[in-house]
Subunit: 231 residues, 2 copies
């Protein structure tokens, strides 16, 4: 698909990348809400209408940036999981969480684009669903690999939650008990709560030495989904 078919195709790929790069620069400077096709074109020495050969609309450019960002965190998480494959599940979980945080700290504006406030007037198309799921799938994978079938100390499900717990379980992790599936989804959201609070400034004057704080909290999250300190 992306093999070198010729100069034409290669130029197209390069220009597409240049447009996205410049758009990311603008994202950092002005925010997603003010992302402007004309400004991108101007900065690249093109005319705005030429951009429409590469992205049919401003929203499509935004979608491309969002998909790229999800893929980047997802890849970082997958890499961390693979590198820690031999370690104990709880350590592997923690390594993945740390990789997510590290990516977020290195790419704060792209993080804000995907995990921050929605962009006004923009509605995400289907294309973002699969990339958005990657980090979650990595976490699921670790828990599934560690699950022995022994009932870990999970809190009992309240009656009001059981239908939803069944649904989440069958959709996401049919081989795990519903209570664990619920805990997993919650831990996934809570992980990003920690990252967002650090990135969006809520930890100012509260948490100073953030790396050990995050690591301990992430580890705790791992225990909440049944991963044991002992291995």
């Amino acid at each position: 698909m992306t093999t070198v078919r010729g100069a034409r195709a290669r130029a197209r790929i390069e220009i597409t990348a240049a447009i996205k790069d410049e758009a990311r620069t603008q994202l950092a400077a002005e925010g997603a809400a003010k992302l402007s096709l004309r400004a991108v074109a101007r900065e690249l020495g093109m005319v705005s209408s030429a951009l429409y050969r590469y992205f049919p609309s401003r929203d499509d450019l935004l979608t491309a940036l969002i998909v790229d960002a999800y893929d980047a965190v997802g890849a970082a998480a997958e890499r961390a999981s693979a590198e820690a494959e031999a370690e104990r599940p709880l350590d592997r979980w923690t390594a993945v969480c740390r990789a997510v945080r590290a990516w977020a700290l290195a790419h704060p504006h792209e993080y804000a684009l995907i995990y921050g406030s929605p962009v006004p007037g923009y509605t995400a198309p289907q294309d973002t669903i699969a990339p958005a799921a990657r980090v979650g799938l990595v976490l699921i994978d670790i828990v599934r690999g560690a699950h022995t079938g022994e009932g870990v100390a999970l809190p009992p499900l309240p009656d009001a939650l059981s239908p939803e717990a069944e649904r989440i379980s069958t959709d996401l992790v049919p081989d795990l008990p519903p209570a664990l599936a619920v805990a997993l989804v919650a831990a996934w959201a809570q992980l990003f709560g920690l990252v967002s609070f650090e990135l969006f400034g809520q930890f100012q004057r509260v948490v100073e030495d953030r790396d050990p704080f995050f690591t301990a909290a992430a580890r705790r999250l791992g225990q909440d989904v049944g991963l044991l300190p002992g291995g």
Copy 2:
């Protein structure tokens, strides 16, 4: 300060409120990044320069909206805590979490303003610090009231975290053990992770019946800070 001193003072208060109301409407429509004094003025039938009598700059208007939003969630949390004063600490904790979520669902744009992506080019002044702390203080209060001095089953602190844990503890909750202080700050961040994921669309196609899911997760957070199901 806000007592009725005369017609002049009353008019000023009313106009200030009208400006903020209109600004909130724009917040919902266009997002904080595009909040424009001119547009607010136009909508109110004023001229833009007249607004500067009430807010010296766009950033000051933004600050007022942010402070109002923090105060509103804070008040909602305080109200919930007071109403559940007689209940068991874990139920009270859960009630406060649910109140935070309910406020967020009712005021999604104001929630995004304070807990979402930072507004590009805006830096929060000191005025926001105290209002931003209110929800956290409510949570601290519940845990402090429930803490018996008996060591709950808290995970041991890793060595790398102890200096920071001491700092957090002495700053925030000098009467509680450092490990509990750390768990509390983490739970505070994680609570907003749950709310943000729901509000910002990450739970789409993942969690459908969100009320019982959130309640169970919030309750679990309460247990993570040492509140016991038994009372």
